[in-house]
Symmetry: D2
Subunit: 304 residues, 4 copies
Amino acid sequence: MSSVLSGTKIAVLGGDERELILISELVKMGATVVVAGFPKAKVAHGAFAVSSAEEACKEAEVLILPLPGTSQEGIIRAVYTEEEIRLSEKAITSLAPNAVVIIGSARQYLKDWAQKYAFELLEIVEMDEIAILNSIPTAEGAIQIAMEETAITIHGSKSCVIGFGRVAVTLARLLKAMGSDVTVVARNQGQLARAHEMGCKKADFPELLEIIKHNNIVFNTVPSMVLGRNILRYANPDTLIIDLATQPGGTDFEAANEFGLKAILAPGLPGKVAPVYAGRILADVIPRLIINEMTRMKKNILFA
Amino acid sequence: MSSVLSGTKIAVLGGDERELILISELVKMGATVVVAGFPKAKVAHGAFAVSSAEEACKEAEVLILPLPGTSQEGIIRAVYTEEEIRLSEKAITSLAPNAVVIIGSARQYLKDWAQKYAFELLEIVEMDEIAILNSIPTAEGAIQIAMEETAITIHGSKSCVIGFGRVAVTLARLLKAMGSDVTVVARNQGQLARAHEMGCKKADFPELLEIIKHNNIVFNTVPSMVLGRNILRYANPDTLIIDLATQPGGTDFEAANEFGLKAILAPGLPGKVAPVYAGRILADVIPRLIINEMTRMKKNILFA
Amino acid sequence: MSSVLSGTKIAVLGGDERELILISELVKMGATVVVAGFPKAKVAHGAFAVSSAEEACKEAEVLILPLPGTSQEGIIRAVYTEEEIRLSEKAITSLAPNAVVIIGSARQYLKDWAQKYAFELLEIVEMDEIAILNSIPTAEGAIQIAMEETAITIHGSKSCVIGFGRVAVTLARLLKAMGSDVTVVARNQGQLARAHEMGCKKADFPELLEIIKHNNIVFNTVPSMVLGRNILRYANPDTLIIDLATQPGGTDFEAANEFGLKAILAPGLPGKVAPVYAGRILADVIPRLIINEMTRMKKNILFA
Amino acid sequence: MSSVLSGTKIAVLGGDERELILISELVKMGATVVVAGFPKAKVAHGAFAVSSAEEACKEAEVLILPLPGTSQEGIIRAVYTEEEIRLSEKAITSLAPNAVVIIGSARQYLKDWAQKYAFELLEIVEMDEIAILNSIPTAEGAIQIAMEETAITIHGSKSCVIGFGRVAVTLARLLKAMGSDVTVVARNQGQLARAHEMGCKKADFPELLEIIKHNNIVFNTVPSMVLGRNILRYANPDTLIIDLATQPGGTDFEAANEFGLKAILAPGLPGKVAPVYAGRILADVIPRLIINEMTRMKKNILFA
């Protein structure tokens, strides 16, 4: 057991298997961890399980909320409990002064509270490091769906990846490595140059109409309507569409259904297909974030 | 429609989606195809569906049996029919003289009949071409099982491939391409040199005991007891074992169960995970075999 | 012959084999191309070879200067002529109004002139598309040097890539694909996450001291002194250093020499190792740039 | 220093940098090593340098000759000496009884002597392990030549590998990994299936005529005239031919020259491009061979 976080009080509210792995790591690093939304038996020895958000948050210097965040009403996803875990204003105000709140992505109300109550709000889902590490289970999960839903092999298939951000780069590489003939569709010429360097074919959006006629599997990563009715109309009837963009995805699912195309919206894959891996990412990155944040604050105090 | 097989009568007895694809190809090449074990509606337009093996075989110059072959009693696997399709001696004797019989692998009784009734028996499951092409869906199917049965990603996993024959080479390459840290266990130094060239670690069987302590996924391809009780005893408790060797595999499943290890025997993957792909292999290879065989026989007759 | 650039007068001043390929493409697209710094015999049929920069620039709507740019005094690298080709203020002022000047990267005097004489200055060497496409011959050229200068194979070597920008990403992938054990050294956590996803090891700069003790080949892409005396002191004596950063590189070459280390500064590889490929990049990208630029200007005029 | 070979007298006659590495390894393993064809200063401390083959062979239990073997007259390639090292019958007869003689490949006279004087003759160049490990520097050396001799990049090139034996498999993988579009030309359907699995295109020899029209680089590994005048006549004039087959290769070099094609015969690459690597292979494999051989002989004596 190390002691880097010794004496730091950390609250963890809700989550799934991933947070269990994170909690265990935080305990190992010497933190005082108080959790709500987990039965005592599940939680690492050394952490304290309490029954409400308010209780957990009391004087916590760090508050960790799950990657999927909260509902508009503050309800927190907590798979191990039947009870509702809710992030109330009262819970927030009971945090220690200058607390750090870590969450996947925050709704507006939480951002407002951060201003009002002067706590540090860290949204981590869009951090490059988290997003790129999570792209690995996302890509593998997408491949798994493709394997389960088609009667062909990835090897020798014609696939298409729409968009070329963090998930798409990983997915394109994996498809290519498995022997698929991959076309990357993107607008940015630099991204297309990279796709070319990686051995993929490249195309601009207007070409999508032609590409979709001859493809076996189409993966979308763009969170706006790129696979609309006017495109899907031309799709090879055996095409499988896997949409990885944030809900509601970038596919007209109604049209797809009408044209008899199989289209699957698959958000949140890391937590589903590889929870242990995804948990290890949190356990790797979050303690580092906390330490950096606290070092920074100490400096600020010192030089104030 | 081509006419390479024009005038050739071919009987197809039983099978699954793969044979449907093969039948369709044979019809396209001009053959007269008579099938048993398939409902009329499933079979490609132009093929004739009859109800018994005897009827189908009558004067057929080529008889095609499914890859899994027959039971000891001659029962043929035919997934589209409730009725029993049986390869009787009578069916065999009604074939045309010098007929060619194509099967995955033949039981002794069929080999005896080949002698007695002077037909050409081609066992294709062990042909390099078929075996290597089938290794692709086998490897992908094995990966799919690994993905479904573990909470980690293939990327970053420690995997081990036992044996280095046709399936193992493909599987090792795929695992490596997906970012797994692969150790190949084999006896043959040439095979181990090839594994090294492919970027895998290499080990001899005595080292298996040590390897299994630290591995996430173990794939066996050797059809003899290589993962016995004395080895499994040392396995990392989270290890997943996927046995791809011909039934009954090379794992002591009872011992695995006793030690709480998840061990899966997964034979016949191509037909299960990628029937269309596997059907295309048959449609690609079998007509070529038939043509070669008939050319050879004509030459023999010519020079007789 | 197409006519997309029909009627457009383009001047090309100096350069090497790459510009010859570009000139040929511009002529094919219908442009009126006037060049200085090339003998008539070398230049594509249809282009006009003149003897001075002034003459070439006269009323040109587009002026293309070589990727390496000009000296402080305006001297242009022109490998096919003995005569000095110089970009004078007079040449610039003889361009057509609103001309577009394309250059690798511009010195201050040229930027000042762009202001003064109101021409559009496009510096392309840092454009993502050019930089990424050029990273391919750069990476291959670096590998070629490594092959020529070591007595080991890339396969099985321990290599290290410092920095993880456009060239480094391509180089790391290539080394990895060839079977090297690659460590990426960078500061940015997102870049390190990507390196990990690509199968590389990752390290921060303070670890460089340790890494260099056990490495065979070190590739630097960072244009600041990262391989200083205090690091080189610890290098494995057989280490080969290949510095790809812009002159003067990021290596203390004097110290390297003192410690008996082989260190090579290798700028401008694309034009050296794969001029035809590098020329095709220019021929692919520059006409597109010109068309975009002219469309944009027409719109501006229209809406002015 | 280990002692596995303690007390074993080993003679090494001639060779190059590779043998120096082997000698050093044999000394480390405790053998008594006597060498001819090397100056004292070059040889590992602990080995004995003598001046004639006869002297070195005296009572040696093992005799190691270089991979390229001897001339018809017994002359041994020895790069470090001006003097002629010759394997005489007298040298052979002065070996210990039941000696083991290790050589790349043996000429007929040596095979006859093996019979006559009852020594064990091991020809190692064709051993799978040696041949596959040596295929790595061979493939890299071939790539290096391609890089040096063309103005294009391997990435994006169209290449062709003729034959699909041990060297060709390695070379095809490397080309593919570097982003070339690779076609494998072979007769054997199993080999072509493997090429397909590895992501290469496949073709039969009659298609070579068509392929050569559009290829940038052709690598031959077949030791018979496969690139004859009638094929070369159709080659793309920019094609580079690299012939890796044993001398005299499989290319009609005269015809190539006549048609203005660049064609390079490149035998023995491992010793040239990566002597240290190639030496390590010998240092890894040969001691193992010796130990196996001696264990086998002891058993024979025991059970005689």
